[in-house]
C-alpha cells in the first residue's frame, strides 16, 4: 500500500492576509503604521498651516538673541544682556540644583523616618506615621505655598535684628533667618584653595580605595579592618592639616546687617527654601514608605539565621539585611528622585527661576516662540529622565537575583 503524500502547494491568496496568523500580524502593523503616519501628517500640516497664518516660522535662532531679563538666582554668570540660550542654561542649572538638594535631604529624611516608623517605640512610630500620611495625602503644591508663606509671613524682618530688636542671629552670629530668606556665610577662595580642594578629593579617593581593600581582605582572610574610623580619619585629617599648612586659604564672609537688609554672605531665597523643603518633606514621606517596605521585605529568617551564625546586630544589618533590602529599595527610590526632579517644575508657584520659568516662561513670552520653547523644555526633562532610568536599568540588571 502506498500512501501518496500530497503536499499542498504554497499558493498565496489575498485572504491569507486576514485569516492566516502568519500574515495577519503584519497586516495589522502595516495598517497601524499607515494610520499613525496619516494622523502625524495631519498634525504637522495643521501646525504648518497655523504657523503660516500667524506669520511665524520654526527656528531656534532666538536662543542666541539677548534675553533682556534678570534672573535673581544664578550659579553661572548671567546678565540681562546674555542670550536666551544662556538664560535657559541658568534655568537648567537651577533645576538641577534644587533637584540635587531635594534628593539629598529627602533621602536622609526618608531613611530616618522609614527606620523610625518600624521602631517598637509607640510614640515615635505614631509620630512618623502621622508625618508620612500627612505629607503623602496633601498636594505638593499646597506644601510649597504653605512653606513659602511660613517663610515670608512668620519669619522676622531684617530690621528686627537691630540692637534691641526681637530677633537674633544663630550659630554665633553667622546665620540669619529672615522673611527675605536665610543668610549664611559665604566661603572666599584665596590662593592655595585649589590645592586644598585637590587634597580633599584625594582623601575621598583614599577612602574609596581603603574600603575596597578592606572588603577584599575580609573576603579573602576574614579579618575585619576598622573601616569607619580610618574613613573618618582620612576624611578630616589631611584636609584640616593642609588647611593650616597652607595658611588658611578659605575664609568665610559673614552676613551683616546694613541699611534695611543683610549685606554679604549668601542669601538663600525664600523661593529656593520653600521649594527645597517642600520637595524634600513630600518625597521624604514616599521614600520612608519605600525604605519601610524594603526592610520588611527581608524575611525574618534571614535575621535569625545571621544571629544563629553569631553575627552581632550591626553586622547583621550591614552584611545580611541591607544588601537584600537595597535590592527592593533602590529601583522605586530612583523613580522617586525622578519624580522629585519633575516636580521641581512647580517652582512656578513661588517664582523660583528654574528651566520652566526661564526657557518655558519668560523666554516664550518675550519671543513668542511657544512651539520651539516647549519642545526644548520637554526634551530637557525627557533626556534627564531617560538618562536616570537607563542608569536604573543597568543597576537592576547588575543586582538581579541570579537564579539558575
Amino acid at each position: 500500500m502506498t500512501i501518496s503524500v500530497d503536499t499542498p502547494k504554497e499558493t498565496f491568496r489575498l485572504s491569507q492576509l486576514l485569516y492566516d496568523t502568519r500574515y495577519r500580524s503584519l497586516t495589522i502593523q502595516v495598517i497601524a503604521f499607515i494610520l499613525l503616519m496619516l494622523s502625524l501628517s495631519w498634525l504637522v500640516s495643521n501646525t504648518v498651516q497655523n504657523l503660516q497664518d500667524l506669520g511665524k516660522d520654526f527656528n531656534f535662532g532666538f536662543l542666541s538673541q539677548p534675553a533682556g531679563y534678570d534672573i535673581n538666582q544664578r550659579i553661572i554668570d548671567y546678565t540681562s544682556q546674555s542670550s536666551h540660550g544662556r538664560a535657559a542654561m541658568v534655568g537648567i542649572l537651577n533645576t538641577l540644583l534644587v533637584a540635587f538638594l531635594g534628593c539629598t535631604v529627602a533621602t536622609v529624611i526618608g531613611v530616618l523616618v522609614g527606620v523610625l516608623r518600624l521602631s517598637k517605640n509607640w510614640v515615635v512610630s505614631r509620630l512618623m506615621a502621622v508625618y508620612v500620611e500627612g505629607f503623602r495625602n496633601v498636594p505638593l503644591l499646597l506644601w510649597i505655598i504653605m512653606i513659602f508663606a511660613i517663610m515670608s509671613e512668620a519669619m522676622p524682618q531684617p530690621r528686627d535684628f537691630r540692637e534691641g530688636g526681637t530677633a537674633s542671629m544663630l550659630l554665633g552670629d553667622s546665620m540669619a533667618i529672615t522673611n527675605r530668606g536665610i543668610f549664611i556665610p559665604k566661603p572666599i577662595w584665596h590662593d592655595g584653595s585649589t590645592i586644598l580642594g585637590a587634597v580633599f578629593l584625594l582623601s575621598l579617593v583614599g577612602i574609596w580605595a581603603f574600603r575596597r581593600y578592606a572588603h577584599k581582605r575580609q573576603e579573602q582572610t576574614g579579618d575585619i579592618l576598622p573601616v569607619l574610623w580610618v574613613s573618618l580619619g582620612l576624611f578630616f585629617v589631611p584636609t584640616i592639616l593642609f588647611y593650616f599648612l597652607l595658611g588658611r586659604p578659605v575664609t568665610l564672609e559673614y552676613p551683616e546687617l546694613g541699611g534695611f537688609n543683610f549685606q554679604g554672605g549668601i542669601q538663600v531665597r525664600n523661593s529656593l527654601i520653600a521649594l527645597w523643603f517642600a520637595l524634600s518633606l513630600y518625597t521624604g514621606a514616599f521614600i520612608a514608605e519605600i525604605v519601610r517596605s524594603g526592610i520588611l521585605a527581608v524575611s525574618k529568617g534571614q535575621t535569625e539565621a545571621a544571629f544563629a551564625l553569631g553575627l552581632r546586630p550591626n553586622r547583621t544589618m550591614n552584611l545580611v539585611i541591607l544588601p537584600q533590602a537595597m535590592r527592593v529599595i533602590i529601583p522605586p527610590l530612583i523613580s522617586q528622585y525622578l519624580n522629585l526632579t519633575k516636580n521641581s517644575s512647580l517652582a512656578i508657584a513661588v517664582g523660583y527661576m528654574d528651566v520652566r520659568a526661564t526657557l518655558g516662561g519668560i523666554t516664550i513670552n518675550q519671543t513668542g516662540r511657544e512651539l520651539e520653547g516647549m519642545l526644548l523644555l520637554g526634551l530637557f526633562y525627557l533626556t534627564a529622565s531617560l538618562v536616570i532610568s537607563s542608569v536604573m536599568n543597568v543597576y537592576n540588571n547588575r543586582m538581579k537575583l541570579k537564579e539558575r
Binding site: A32, N46, K120, W122, V123, N137, R356
Partner: protein
Amino acid sequence: MSKANLSYVRTEMLGPQDPPLGQTGVIRWVRENLFSSWLNAILTLLSLWFVWSVLSHLYPWFANSIWSAGSLSECREIRNTTLGEGASAACFAVISDRWEQLLFGFYPREGYWRPVLALAVFLLSILPVLFTHLPRKLLIGSIASPIFLFWLLWGGSIWAPASVMFGFVAGFVAYRVVAAASSNLLGLLAAIAAPLLYWFLLTGLVADALNSVVPIELPKVQSKEFGGFTLSVIIGIAGIAFSLPLGILLALGRQSNLFFINKVSVAFIEVIRGVPLIVWLFTASLLLNYFLPPGTNFDLMLRVIIMVTLFSAAYIAEVVRGGLAALPKGQYEAADALGLDYWLSMRLIILPQALKISIPGIVNTFIGLFKDTTLVVFIGLLDPIGLSNAIRASTDWQGVYWELFIFIGLMFFIFCFSMGRYSLYLEKKLQREHR
C-alpha cells in the same frame, strides 16, 4: 517518727501570685514600648517634647477660633474685645463666609444641589465596581451613570449625552450582528465604524427628536463657571475613568509581540512619563491650537481633562504592565493551549488576574492624579488653591493664609486618605485570596 511527716518537698501547691508591679499593665507597656533603652528613652522624650511644643502653639489658636465675621479686620476686632490684644486665634470665619466658593467655584448658587447629587450618583455607581460582593446586575447602572453625571453638571437636555452614549450601544449591536453573520474581524470593524457613523450623522437628530417628545432639561452651566473642589473632583474622576481603558490598551501594546505596536506604545509611555504634568498642561493651553485645524477652539477644561487622561494613562500602563509581567507564563500558555485568540485570552484569562494584582498600584496612581489636579491653577482654572488666592486678593480677607490652607489640605487629605485605605483593604483581601 513516721516517714510521712518528713517531707523535703512542699506538698501543697502555692496559690498564684500577682506579677511584680513593674511587669503588668501600663507600667510594663511603658517600659517595653517607650523606655526599653537609652536611645529609645531619648527618642520618646524628644517626640513628646515636639508634640507638646506643636500642640501648645496650635491649641489656643484653634480653641479661640472665630467662626462668624465678615472680614479679617472684623475678626481681629472680635478677638481684641473678647480675648485681648494680640491673642492667638484662628479666623475660620473666612471658611464659613466663603465655603460655598471653595466647594463650588462660580457655579450658579441655585444649582448647588446638582454637583452634590452628581457626586452621590457617582459614589452609588462606583460601589458595585469597588465591592465585588454586591450583585453584578448593578453594573448596568454604573455604565449608564455618565449620562446623568454629565447632564447634572453641565445641564441642557438629558438626551444629548444619552444619545452620545447610545453610540456605544450601536457599536456593540453592530459587533454582535456582523460577527454572527460573518467573521470576528469584520465584526470588530463594524463595531468601530457604526458608532463613528452614528456620531457624525445621527447624534444631533436623535437628541433633538427625543427632546421634542420628552423634554427633560436643566439650565446650562458653562465650563468656566466650574471651580473649587467641584472642578478638582470632576477633572480627577474624568481622568480616572478615561485613563483606565487607555492605560490597559497601552500596557497590552507594550507587552505585544507586534514590533511596531510595541515600539509606539513604549515611545508614548516614556515621552509622557518623562515630562512633568505642568509642561503638558502648558502644552494644552499654549500649543494645542497649533496642532488642530485652523479656527478650532475648544473648552480649556476639556483640554485639561484630555491631557490629564493621557498623562495618567501612561502611569497606569506601567502599573498594569507590572501586573501582566507578574503572571506566571503558564497562564499565557494555557490560554493559547485552549485555542483562544488574543483578545479572548486577554479578556477571559490574563486581564482579570493581572488587573487584580495591579489594583493597589492603580489606586495609588489615582491618588497622585487627584492631587495633581491642583496644577490646573497655573493655566487659569480656579481650583481650590486658585480660589484661595482669589479670596486673599479681596479686601475683606487680605492676609488670611493658614485657615484656607488648612481647609484645603484637610479636604484633600480626606479624599486621598480614604482612597489609600481602600487600596490597603484591597491589598489585604487579595493576599488572603491568593493564599
